[in-house]
């Protein structure tokens, strides 16, 4: 009874916080010029796009416990497909998203079939090796730009005649996608499928004994995370009309892993926070330290993983304003009960 009540209250509280943050983000561009400059809009836009990516990644790495070190291949494929579609076919944002999703479905299916045979370290190795294949291809194939990447990509349109070229309109478009992605990911996590995934992470053998085809479930979640990555890849081209082969690079895959761990694995909110932290920190460090910013970022990763491997969410849960507030709230509640009786 108390357990039920607690979960309901927790979910209610979380919903309020979620809607509140969404409203804040919606209101943010209105304050440009007063509080935030256009520059911060761009930073937030990047956080949204990488956030969509991270939601899918968290389903795979956080909930299912299979860390991929090559997720840039789906992100990069989404970005390259989008660039090609917008440059040579049509500048419709929907067409790019659907073609990207279609291609990544095929890719995710095939690679899932190959990678699902392995677990833990071997899975990391396999995904890494495959993503390097894509990087080398993109880096050496002149037809898709080679080392130079694809430049001169036109700005997308929402519907014929309605441009998404303006920063603010694209901000809202991406925010909408982030909200949908978050809602979808929550739905997946709370569904039966989500529980099976957690079961696989905790003990795959037992999940198998319960009658689940764990390989099939892993392939499913692999494909789902590939699709999230594809949408993120499409959106990043709308944000920055230039696609370098870096989008396939292993350091980008590494960045995803870092966002995942820095934020807190298997929490959905954590990786979003992680994305925000990595992007803002990268920006701050690159202005402070100029050429040595990668060194500082790497050092920060090392320190984080050594001293707080649960990530930001873990810290927040342990020692934080939220924790203190929670404790205060519970004390206040107890005293009010006492007062009533």
């Amino acid at each position: 009874m108390t357990f039920e009540g607690r979960t309901i209250r927790k979910v209610g509280l979380r919903k309020i916080v979620e809607v509140g943050i969404l409203l804040l983000l919606v209101a943010m561009p209105l304050s440009t010029g007063y509080l935030f400059s256009d520059f911060y809009i761009a930073l937030f836009l990047r956080v949204f796009i990488f956030g969509i990516m991270m939601l899918g990644f968290d389903l795979l790495a956080g909930y299912c416990g299979l860390a991929s070190f090559g997720h840039a291949m789906f992100f990069g494929t989404g970005a390259y497909v989008t660039a090609i579609v917008w440059k040579y076919l049509s500048d419709s944002v929907w067409l790019a998203i659907f073609i990207g999703l279609g291609l990544n479905t095929v890719l995710g299916y095939i690679l899932g079939l190959l990678c699902v045979r392995t677990r833990t370290i071997y899975f990391v190795f396999l995904t890494f090796a495959f993503s390097q294949f894509f990087f080398v291809t993109a880096n050496s194939w002149r037809l898709i730009g080679g080392t130079d990447g694809i430049a001169g990509i036109p700005l997308p349109t929402l519907l014929p005649g309605i441009s998404l070229g303006h920063r603010i309109s694209f901000y809202y478009f991406s925010l909408g996608f982030l909200a949908i992605a978050y809602w979808l990911a929550r739905k997946i996590v709370n569904s039966h499928f989500g529980r099976v995934l957690r079961g696989i992470r905790q003990n795959e053998e037992r999940t198998k004994f319960l009658g689940y085809n764990t390989s099939l479930e892993i392939r499913k979640v692999f494909l789902i995370s590939a699709l999230f990555a594809s949408v993120a890849g499409t959106l990043i081209v709308g944000f920055q009309p230039f696609v370098p082969p870096y989008y396939y690079h292993w350091s980008l895959s590494g960045e995803f892993v870092i966002m995942e761990i820095l934020g807190g694995m298997g929490t959905l909110v954590g990786p979003l926070l992680g994305a925000a932290i990595v992007i803002f920190m990268g920006d701050i460090l690159s202005t402070w330290f100029k050429e040595a910013w990668m060194l500082c970022l790497g050092a920060i990763y090392v320190i984080c993983v050594l001293y707080s491997p649960e990530g930001v969410i873990g810290i927040l849960n342990n020692i934080s304003v939220v924790g203190i507030l929670k404790r205060l709230l519970s004390r206040f509640k107890r005293s009010s009960y006492l007062g009533k009786s």
Binding site: R117, F125, Q132, E291, V302, P309
Partner: protein, 281 residues
């Protein structure tokens, strides 16, 4: 014939890199993504020592020592804290260290490529039954063969090799025999980094040194391990030779797309034997 010899030479340098990675992975369960950085740092340190002293052999032996020391410190103070925790943590740690090393190299040596100067007796060619082959490559071939054989004998015939091989199967039992496995881990990490640094000096003399070579060699080593089987020394050596041959023959067959042959081989191996050629467990 030239291709065959060249492929084996390249493959043997790959073997030096990937056998260290595979042993670290198999025994310690650590995904060392900084292994490519050790190769790169070894090459740069070797370059600097040669530039300062002009002595090739000094750099050939001193540079691995320096890198091994660095790796030993890194293991002692960082990697050892994460044993028994999630795989992703060591991955992130070594990746972060890789970033630090890569940026440090860029800051210290700049972005332009270098090449290690060979002593005069290594320059020029050797006539091998009518085939002119670079002297240094021949030396590399013999040296790597000797080193790999030595490692193999060490792993299979010595007491410490027995401990390491036992660590591949069950660490707790090894500890139960009263062996300080963490000390073994430290020495192992150090030695593997040193071997990678030797390979770095060799590659620096054979090809060139550039600040993105860490990514190239970690990729190669990972593919070798995927082909050869996780944690398997034999698999790493044979996988390296296969990869070296595939690269040299691929470069002749389809110039510019040599790397693709390696992935074709990897995909084929995965489809036929998903555990790799010589699975250890």
């Amino acid at each position: 014939m030239a291709n065959l010899l060249y492929g084996i030479t390249i493959g043997s340098t790959y073997a030096l890199i990937s056998c260290g990675l595979t042993i670290i992975l198999g025994v310690m369960g650590v995904l060392n993504f900084a292994h490519g950085s050790f190769v790169m740092l070894g090459a740069y340190t070797g370059y600097t020592i040669i530039k300062l002293t002009g002595n090739f052999w000094l750099s050939f032996f001193l540079s691995p020592l320096v890198i091994a020391l660095l790796a030993g410190i890194m293991e002692k103070f960082m990697v050892s804290r994460l044993y028994g925790k999630e795989v992703l943590f060591t991955l992130l740690l070594t990746f972060g260290m890789g970033m630090v090393f890569a940026n440090a190299v860029l800051l210290i040596w700049g972005g332009s490529p270098y090449s290690i100067q060979l002593p005069y007796y290594f320059k020029g060619f050797v006539n091998l039954f009518g085939l002119y082959y670079p002297k240094f490559r021949l030396f590399v071939l013999f040296f790597s063969f000797l080193l790999v054989t030595f490692i193999w004998i060490f792993l299979n015939r010595s007491r410490w090799g027995l401990v390491i091989r036992a660590g591949l199967f069950d660490i707790e039992t090894v500890q139960a025999f009263g062996i300080n496995i963490y000390k073994v881990f430290n020495v192992l990490f150090l030695c593997c980094a040193g071997i990678a640094a030797v390979a770095g000096v060799i590659i620096g003399a054979m090809r060139s040194i550039n600040p993105v070579m860490d990514a190239d060699f970690i990729t190669v080593a990972v593919i070798v391990i995927v082909i050869g089987g996780l944690g398997s020394f034999k698999g790493a050596v044979i996988g390296s030779l296969i990869l070296g041959l595939a690269e040299s023959f691929g470069a002749q067959a389809i110039p510019g797309l040599a790397k693709f042959t390696t992935w074709a081989i990897m995909a084929a191996v995965l489809l036929l034997r998903p555990e790799g050629l010589f699975p250890e467990r």
